[in-house]
Symmetry: D3
Subunit: 289 residues, 6 copies
Amino acid sequence: MRLDNGNLLAQIGEFLAEDIGRGDITTQACVPPNTKSVGFFLAKENLVLCGLEIAEAVFMSLDPDSAPLETSYHDGDEVHSGICFAVKKGYADILLAGERTALNLLQRLSGIATMTRQYVKAVEGTNARIVDTRKTTPGLRMLEKYAVTVGGGKNHRLGLDDGVLIKDNHIALAGGIKRAVEAAKASVGHLHKIEVEISNWAQLREAIEAGADAILIDNQTPEEVKKLVEMARSLNPDVLIEASGGITLENARSYAEAGVDLISVGKLTHSVRAVDISFKIQSAFAQFS
Amino acid sequence: MRLDNGNLLAQIGEFLAEDIGRGDITTQACVPPNTKSVGFFLAKENLVLCGLEIAEAVFMSLDPDSAPLETSYHDGDEVHSGICFAVKKGYADILLAGERTALNLLQRLSGIATMTRQYVKAVEGTNARIVDTRKTTPGLRMLEKYAVTVGGGKNHRLGLDDGVLIKDNHIALAGGIKRAVEAAKASVGHLHKIEVEISNWAQLREAIEAGADAILIDNQTPEEVKKLVEMARSLNPDVLIEASGGITLENARSYAEAGVDLISVGKLTHSVRAVDISFKIQSAFAQFS
Amino acid sequence: MRLDNGNLLAQIGEFLAEDIGRGDITTQACVPPNTKSVGFFLAKENLVLCGLEIAEAVFMSLDPDSAPLETSYHDGDEVHSGICFAVKKGYADILLAGERTALNLLQRLSGIATMTRQYVKAVEGTNARIVDTRKTTPGLRMLEKYAVTVGGGKNHRLGLDDGVLIKDNHIALAGGIKRAVEAAKASVGHLHKIEVEISNWAQLREAIEAGADAILIDNQTPEEVKKLVEMARSLNPDVLIEASGGITLENARSYAEAGVDLISVGKLTHSVRAVDISFKIQSAFAQFS
Amino acid sequence: MRLDNGNLLAQIGEFLAEDIGRGDITTQACVPPNTKSVGFFLAKENLVLCGLEIAEAVFMSLDPDSAPLETSYHDGDEVHSGICFAVKKGYADILLAGERTALNLLQRLSGIATMTRQYVKAVEGTNARIVDTRKTTPGLRMLEKYAVTVGGGKNHRLGLDDGVLIKDNHIALAGGIKRAVEAAKASVGHLHKIEVEISNWAQLREAIEAGADAILIDNQTPEEVKKLVEMARSLNPDVLIEASGGITLENARSYAEAGVDLISVGKLTHSVRAVDISFKIQSAFAQFS
Amino acid sequence: MRLDNGNLLAQIGEFLAEDIGRGDITTQACVPPNTKSVGFFLAKENLVLCGLEIAEAVFMSLDPDSAPLETSYHDGDEVHSGICFAVKKGYADILLAGERTALNLLQRLSGIATMTRQYVKAVEGTNARIVDTRKTTPGLRMLEKYAVTVGGGKNHRLGLDDGVLIKDNHIALAGGIKRAVEAAKASVGHLHKIEVEISNWAQLREAIEAGADAILIDNQTPEEVKKLVEMARSLNPDVLIEASGGITLENARSYAEAGVDLISVGKLTHSVRAVDISFKIQSAFAQFS
Amino acid sequence: MRLDNGNLLAQIGEFLAEDIGRGDITTQACVPPNTKSVGFFLAKENLVLCGLEIAEAVFMSLDPDSAPLETSYHDGDEVHSGICFAVKKGYADILLAGERTALNLLQRLSGIATMTRQYVKAVEGTNARIVDTRKTTPGLRMLEKYAVTVGGGKNHRLGLDDGVLIKDNHIALAGGIKRAVEAAKASVGHLHKIEVEISNWAQLREAIEAGADAILIDNQTPEEVKKLVEMARSLNPDVLIEASGGITLENARSYAEAGVDLISVGKLTHSVRAVDISFKIQSAFAQFS
């Protein structure tokens, strides 16, 4: 996924407004205007870095004339605890005004990338891909889904318009799997595949016979999943199979080895632990810019 | 804190747009228009509820004519696992379109309230209050700070304009604590108190003598904190004292017993675990309006 | 497709602002305030009606308390010249302020629906579906695509994010069809099919062998298309085939009979003729509300 | 008319968002980042060019650092079929993301300018000016009215606030022409003239005697118009006279020769045929900036 | 002028946000939720009332379900000192949150209406009309121009697009009055009149001979104005004449008696004195809704 | 206070749109495109300058490539009548389009700074500070409060969220001063002080005993104020005391000498007289950029 800079800047403007409100009264009182300074981003634990471009956009949004972030790292790099991974030079009031917003984003997105990388490594060597869900923080979906790709995961649907996923609620309201799948085929654009959530063998058979392109097996043990995968492949060897529900770092590999194509993990985005990053600002005595 | 309904609705409109995009193609294909239905919110674990009004606003934003959420619970109530705490009646396509956004908010905010309540209980009986920080999710600060109050905590600054907190960076750039405090007193409105972050006894003394109203002791052990509190009180019995840095559920009480007035906990908002809540939708055979 | 009323109202607010500016100075000068009146929508030619809900939204946007549009017609109905298909009661200044915007939308959308219906009838009885393109009027895509469905057509991609369509430009820049298709399969979500534009047999073979789900045959005669369809089906009987380029009402059936699944017609939206509809307003002597 | 660049850029940002949505997934998958490329705009039929600045703004909106459009043409120039009238250099993903929006605008606006030019030529040598109407595409009024001036036409009212035009509906609701004109004179600013729509001699006399500055003769034959013009001039030689309704390329000159000052043509903007323009993109091997 | 309620509400939402920010912390702390109360608007001096609808909109914006403002007054009425001219019932927190914004608007707009009324009375019985200028408070033009009409004045141009007024700067840059007037006649729509600012007899003659519809005499004594008016009428008896510059309540009548049609007064909007109005809130013991 | 350039530019864009509407039709007609010109800002009376940065932003908003304003003055400088205090070079149509908006802001803000300076001088040598109120023009609060600081005054609350000020209405609704102050202390953040409005000795005592940090004495004579100040200081020597109500340039010093810390003056912002500033534009013959 590539970030959309236009949207990003608009959104960051709102984030900054949320934090700064009518002005950073502490800095306005204590720090002389036009004080040149340097800020250092430090990893306080091992992490997969995500959000460099976003942190940069925070400061650029406050001062478009400031120097670019100096860094030799890229999103996706693993950074060890204690490393200074980026340096930002600029006026002290700009750095102080952007500090919290930049850190809040960097820490959260790096947290997502770090956890995703752990899941990806857990299934390494299998055919399964780690994917995210729509259980993202409202307002941050594109950033969080970007962080998942930075960590090595893939994105599931970006929104309700981005794919057909027929769940139990739809099946009940449509009057069965067959009717739901047929209605979907008649209605949606010809470039969309159709995925159906199932929880047992009868449903799986009905879905595949109705022409489902992909199957979501929800909340089953790895052993159950394995059996269902084999049955599904015998009906349609090309059908895509996704497992979800209760996936942990510990059991992810078992699901992968059960033969699924995709493993979706809600906690990648709904229960993020912010990684620890600090930003230390020093006055700069030498001229810059 | 009371929620600002005007802002809330605008924001929820954006959250829904983020998830729905150009339309919920699955539901539009599979579910007949005007299907009346009922949705049940279920707690899947013990939790402190937060966000009822917000979940309601999600559905109202999609259909202003729909019936109000039916519930006998209030934000702040403890709900046991297995309990259906609210019922929403409405057209199936509305319920399905709002489901994910409502859950993403409810689960996150209840997660914050639940964790906050744990901290509040940990210091019960002492004079210390649990407060949040500015380490909130960009875009969600007011909602997350609301959740902290629902959990029983208090809010620290809502933004950089909401109070003077002179940190190490400011002190360095201002040329010392004394100069920073004096500059702040001369500059900010007469209704603002001034808080200074310190990390040793010399700084504490300088801050109090310069007229600081509150002191933030960062990253010290409970024992150190206790000593600093005593020294501070001897200089100014009315000075407010806050501890921060490395506070856990386990050690929170030690800090409280060290005599501080406030304990700030970043993880209340920066590392939230979403609590487990589900939303089950059934077709409604009977008429409702 | 169902209309998104939220977006629609926002957009209509902008359309009205564009036309009304700082106020309808003629009506404010000449028409007494609170003059009750009735407006009649008349078809001045045979047409397929589209936009009733939208015309209604125009007046509701100006006066949320006004009575709903009275009509026994629905979008998609064929209306004969001379028929009054809808009646709007309301204050004269509201009707006059909304008249032009309502008509501009109704006439354009009914124009699209009317032309689409002609194409749909031209291919009736074949397996081919008439689809639109992204050649829509900037700002009106969703409304115009809605009008196409009202006319009986189907929608192609709603935007660049709504499907993978690898065109000549992409192929050249990617270094060939095979590399482009493989890159797409590795990159996009698992619910997206992949369509490739081809113009000869070698390309078609490469695309299908690389795993393309759909083929776009651009700017070929019906005879050529027929041959390419047969070749394609021999490689993969399930591949979807779309014809585009130079499709007219006269030759559409030949393309349909060549065996394609989809025929895309740019002029449905890029060269619309507004159908003739008038709106006559009379003063109402009797009370209404 | 001069374009308002501020508004234009905001609007183009919305047009691009409409087409690009969450991202150009085909290009992101198939085209390597930072691929330098060149795009060529080709006229596929004879046309009056309109929209160069707008097409430029589309790409600038996506990449403010890209090179300006290279062209030796200006809006209003006649371009022959087969001519490459402009070249845009830039990153391939930028050119592909902007292509459709740029073409949709260029083709539509050039279509308007081309048709306008034909009408202007049809009345060349007479005193009559071709003018547009408020029958524009909602959201595009200023751009479409600009295209009319590029084609050589003049603009009628830009909106309901831009002039007083008393139509049959106003007359009926005001209680007659005399009362409507007097009310308008008393109400509107002293810099506004007053135009009255009439359809017969008695109305014309009443309007002029009441002090109308301009007369709109609607839906009359050229012969009728000629008689009414003569009568009008005998009452007030300075009165402006406009003909409208049923004007075609074939009969426009007859109306002009009937002595009117203005001929308004709704189809200039309500029934536009997009002219055929293509955009071909090639990879650029040489460096550009 | 009639107020545009759509715009008004949006604007009032912004005004309230400006004052309330993240919340009315005093009221949230001190006043119990859902306290029913009554607020009384009192004139503390004699005034011409303006802004009832706007004050109402302030409270409705905060609580759409609150009861309408109770009043027997209308905008334009003269209210004596000591009179309670309106009563608003509602929840105390709503009344307190809207109080300042409602008063700031009411006091300012009534100030404008009051001063305008004084000028209008000063020229009563002459043919001269009091008009405003574009010297309004940025962001409040339409409200302030509305207040002028409430006071009995008329509006000059609402903006730069609302009329042609050729001033000294334009004349210099155009190369003379004749060229400026001719360029304007060729360029602007046929419903616009053309006004020219002059300061001596030669300019006046050149303007009228070039076909100016209106003349602005700037910064001349009443005696000078009288002479210029007579000269102007001898050239074109229908030409409109406006005086501006240095008009006071004391000399306004002299200008009017010099025979001008319009007298423009900048201070009506650029130097407003807010009239004194108070808002007293009481708790309501009885039920209201 | 420092201005927030981000917000400022957005707001100025709206101000310009309000004045320019669909375009400056006079200039577009009369002034050739790309005419280079120079504009001179002249003080027509003695004034305290305020708004240079804002005037600059007006023109930059219209043409980001134009040259910066040339000036050797700063906000807060006293400028004598007749002085040209700033020069703006740019295209004539840009200067004419921005002229009115720039002047409207400069004249109003300099008017506020000028009046504030007079009040500040009136109390020079005492301990009292002149402060503003929330009686600002809706939409312009931050600019007006900035002008107050430029004039030498201090800002009272920026909004309802920026401090606790318990007024008579709150006291009545809360059930007394003691309950209100206690509720406020329990509710608001620990960095907020609490101010209470009182009008007699009993209230003053209750407020101070309840722990109020600041006292607002409303509408008392200087003699009364003096007595209340002495009583207050005897209860709590650190309590801040503010006087308000009926403060004039003539009596301000008496209030200051009564020993208050703050004197708030509503008319600084609610009844501003615009100072007289003109902007003269000349064609520039020499090249500039």
